[in-house]
């Protein structure tokens, strides 16, 4: 075989036909492109890309059309033409225009008045799910029902834009939007009251014991503390101590302490202590 090739070579006949494969430069995902070849005769064309592999018969010297669908995936493509031998060229397809934003926001519930507690991360993608790697400006906007609370304009770096922000002062739903041109994604964060600011209790002796309840429990910004927050009432009668945990319902926590003698009652919720009150015996 080697001898035959050498003889043919001496005779000026090439066993392999050198084919030049000219691939597109600056191809964009989802936009048709073409590949040109040199030579003549029939050949087999192969394309290997991030989400495609194809094989088809082509005529050398004619343009090979790549449909928009064939190059939807951004990334690296290898175009190969095989006649008597194979030639390959590599080209890249870039992502198209922004079509969607993947927007991650945390947390879903944030206590009011906390520094750097809300964060958002946005990744722009084109319509084929390719990450857009070129810098784009993403507008983050935080707004409540009544007003705009904050906005951040952030340029994507390596395909990502992010922000961190403090929570507002009022409890309630806050809308967080990320927009890039006419593409927008929205998320809602529920701002909830922070820890109780102060606890004030009052008590009354009844035939069944001592009824004790808090005044409406609020955080330091005046927001009612969420229902279900536990208030612990402690009753001391000499050396005898008893505790009752009561959840806040409609701003107030209530409990009944079964004690006949004089007692001292106090309350606590989280790190906040309330006032102490003395209740005389029956």
């Amino acid at each position: 075989m080697g001898l035959l090739a050498a003889l043919l070579s001496l005779a000026g006949v090439s066993l392999a036909q050198d084919i030049e494969v000219r691939v597109p430069s600056g191809a964009v995902a989802g936009q048709a492109a073409s590949i040109s070849t040199t030579g003549s005769g029939s050949a087999t064309f192969y394309l290997e890309g991030p989400s495609i592999a194809l094989k088809r018969d082509v005529q050398l010297g004619q343009e090979i059309q790549l449909s928009a669908r064939q190059i939807e995936g951004a990334g690296r493509y290898v175009a190969t033409i095989c006649a008597s031998s194979c030639s390959s060229s590599v080209f890249f397809v870039a992502a198209g225009k922004p079509s969607s934003l993947t927007f991650l926001v945390h947390p879903s519930r944030a206590p009011v008045g906390q520094a750097d507690t809300i964060s958002g991360v946005a990744f722009p993608f084109d319509e084929f799910g390719n990450l857009i790697f070129t810098p784009e400006t993403v507008q983050f906007q935080i707004s409540s029902k009544d007003s705009n609370l904050a906005s951040h304009s952030v340029q994507t770096q390596n395909g990502v834009a992010w922000f961190r922000s403090s929570s507002g002062k009022s409890a309630g739903a806050v809308q967080i939007a990320a927009s890039l041109n006419d593409v927008q994604a929205r998320r809602v964060v529920q701002q909830v009251a922070s820890d109780p600011c102060r606890l004030q209790i009052k008590a009354q002796r009844t035939p069944k014991g001592v009824e004790v309840q808090t005044d409406p429990v609020r955080d330091c910004a005046g927001n009612p503390v969420p229902d279900g927050t536990i208030v612990t009432f402690t009753a001391k009668n000499g050396d005898e101590i008893s505790t009752v945990d009561a959840p806040i319902k409609q701003d107030v926590a209530r409990a009944r302490i079964a004690a006949k003698g004089p007692i001292v009652i106090s309350a606590a919720s989280g790190v906040v202590m309330g006032n102490e009150i003395r209740v005389g015996g029956q």
Binding site: S51, S88, F92, H106, F123, N158, W162
Partner: protein, 169 residues
């Protein structure tokens, strides 16, 4: 004595060949997390990322060589999984397969989300890449490819959601 020696040599050679093949199939991956921001990558997370990214490439190579999605083990999700599925499907349809061997990946963690729910990696991958039509090799090269990777934590592993080659970082 000779009768024993010859089979032993054969077994040793077979084992060595098997070992070489296994070593060839297992990608070499290094992960540098010093550039990760705004959150720093904890050592346990770094270990898990390294393990799962390496495993993802092992499985990707197997899937594209065997034209079967069965070996992917749920390490790909979202866009990355769709792209891989499409590629395997079209390879199978065209009678093609591709082979990634002698893989080496130098990976930098570039962005780690404040809440730790997504990480962006930049992988400078080096491998021998071969495209086969049936059993005939139609293309082979030693490729150096830059990949942008997005991974998110799953229940017990990190999964690749985006695996996109770019011309440069």
């Amino acid at each position: 004595m000779m009768r024993i020696r010859i089979p032993m040599i054969c077994v040793t050679l077979a084992l060595a060949a098997g070992y070489l093949k296994a070593a060839d199939a297992s990608p070499q991956v290094t992960l540098n997390v010093t550039k990760a921001a705004p959150r720093t990558v904890e050592p346990l997370t770094q270990r898990a990322l390294l393990r799962d990214y390496k495993f993802a490439w092992t499985n990707l190579a197997q899937a594209l060589e065997s034209n079967s999605m069965e070996s992917l083990n749920g390490l790909f999700a979202g866009n990355a999984n769709t792209a891989l599925k499409d590629k395997v499907g079209t390879q199978r349809q065209s009678g093609l397969s591709s082979r990634y061997s002698n893989q080496s990946h130098k990976v930098d963690a570039i962005f780690y989300a404040p809440e730790g729910d997504v990480i962006e990696l930049h992988d400078t991958a080096e491998y021998d890449y071969q495209v086969l039509d049936g059993s005939k090799s139609i293309h082979s090269e030693h490729a150096i490819v830059h990949y942008v990777v997005l991974m998110t934590p799953g229940a017990d592993r990190w999964v690749v959601r985006q695996l996109q080659a770019v011309q440069h970082f």
